[in-house]
Amino acid sequence: MFDILSRIRRTGRLSETGPQAGKATASDPLQSKLHQTFGRALCIRQVDAGSCNGCELEIQALGNPYYNLEGSGIHFVASPRHADLLLVTGPVSVNMEEALKRTYQAMPKPKWVIAVGDCGACGGIFGTSYASRGSVGNIIPVDAMVNGCPPSPTALMQAIVDVTTGMPQSGQG
């Protein structure tokens, strides 16, 4: 136990300052913006609707100590019924179409949807076919898109902040 505590002390705080909403200044940080919108926290449900797993890796990276998303009061939840925001990676496979629709329908209002990655945003290299419906927007309403293959954790955080604070989306990874 002493070794673990000693290592934690040596590691120190790695968290970096997250992106600000739109043109917000340092006195107007992410957390207070989110507090204004939600009171306490933002709950995200993630659905992989047919991705290659690249976008998932970057979404998972949001939880590492450098991005420390939970430290900003944003966390991932296990049920769509607890979620304010749906992060969807794609392309939407025909085999996931129904599961995606049902997840979206299970979320309480108000709710946002962000289509993640080039595939989620426009179908990417897979496009539309017998097996792929292409972009997330072809299946459920989408509020914002984050391009990139995969988009960086910073681009993902920026999109989350922008969409939930009503900023026009940047759209770029």
């Binding site: 790695l14 890796l57 590492n64 085999n95 539309t128 017998y130 097996a131």
Partner: protein, 514 residues
Amino acid sequence: MNLDTLEQEAVRVPSNVAVSCITFGAESWLQAADAMQQAGAVLLTLWGSDDRDRDGHFRIHAAYLMPQRLWIIGHAMPSDSPVYPSLSRLFPVADRLQRAVRDLLGIHADGGDDRPWLRHGGWPASVFPLRRDVDPAHAHAVQSSAYPFVHVSGDGVHEIPVGPVHAGTIEPGHFRFSLVGEKVLRLEQRLGYAHKGVAKRFESMRLDDGHRLAARACGDSTVAFSWAYCSALESMNATVVPPRAVTLRALALELERVANHLGDLGALGNDAGLAFGQTQFSALKERLLRQNAEVFGQRYLFDLVVPGGVAKDPPERALVALSSELSDIKREVNELRVLYTNHAGLQDRLQGTGYVDPAQARTMGALGLVARACGLARDLRVDLPWPPYDKFLPTVAICADGDVAARLQVRFDEVLESLRLCSQWLGDMPAGAICVDLPDTEPGQQGIGMIEGWRGPVLAAVESGVNEGIRRCHIHDPSWQNWLLLERAVLDNIVADFPLINKSFNLSYSGHDG
């Protein structure tokens, strides 16, 4: 039939490893399968092709992996009776492979499980999308119906259905548990949710563009898949890749292995209740990804491996910085390994959990790190070394215990071994060109690429078409074999240990579903 007879009749297929091919009638096809099974081969994959436009036949190709060679045994069927002998009696993985071939191409095995596998009602049972006369753009409304899971009955037996949408940020798949109390009696997987028509999509791409799709078959193994595809193409053209590109490819492959293993080492700690491990290892992984961005211009190495070489020539100072960062990471991994090993609570959760018997692993055709954690020394980098591994042989990480702890230990060993290889290459990086142009490719050429990715061997089988197009490309992820073992590993464990056992395998859904 014995292997010596086969060797006399077989032809070599262009590849980065040793591949022999032979075509048989139905009876000999099955006899060859029997001989392969007797010789201890792994049925690596099955794929079908629609050659009706050429000679009125469908074909089925079975790839068998032996320590010294990959065998491809083909069989042609007339278009009016596309039936071939089932291999499921000899190789457990054959059932799912045969079901997938049938769903996409409409050629049938004459026995075994005949439920759909990749087709979940997204296209009609009478439509076979991989046939050449089927328009790839033609979409169908989903007509879903209940999937006939195997039902377990008895006093106190209940079911837990999980997925396809899971509680965490992971890929889609369905697990049907049958339990008594908390004990798992049976797990049945249903996969195919991430099927996005990769094989059909290849057929509308150019040969010199297909690596971008291969790179996205399974995003966490992008270097392995794009290298396998490029190797197939380069072998077909007898192209020699410059030494600097070869070394950079191998560097990228080992960095991919290290990044994924670091992620898993943290996640395994987390799933066993040691969040400290997740924090530490995810921070190390992030440091590595940031180095990737400095060296190759991106955190994940999509499209770095291109036909003829690599797309990015890293500046010398970035390579020096990478070398120093990797030494740091190595020191930290060694330190964390001691903490994991000495943590009684953690070891209590890992040891004996999710046990796979080595004999069973052999029967099921275990591949990659799952095989190595059951004591099976299977590693393409050593068994069939291609450049630069022929001059830089890694030490195969082996642990015979077969449990979650063993899979953790193999990951630790492999991270350290990969870091050793990287440090050798960084200390003596060849100079020169990073890419050469490929010559034009005649239609009907075949090439095979095989690379040991971080999960195990990945394969790309490419056939050229007219106008520099792809006629057929089949890719295979080792998860096909290892998914079967996961069904076995969870038996007699408590269902609450499933996330831990599942993470210790960390198999690909997208790579499997195609």
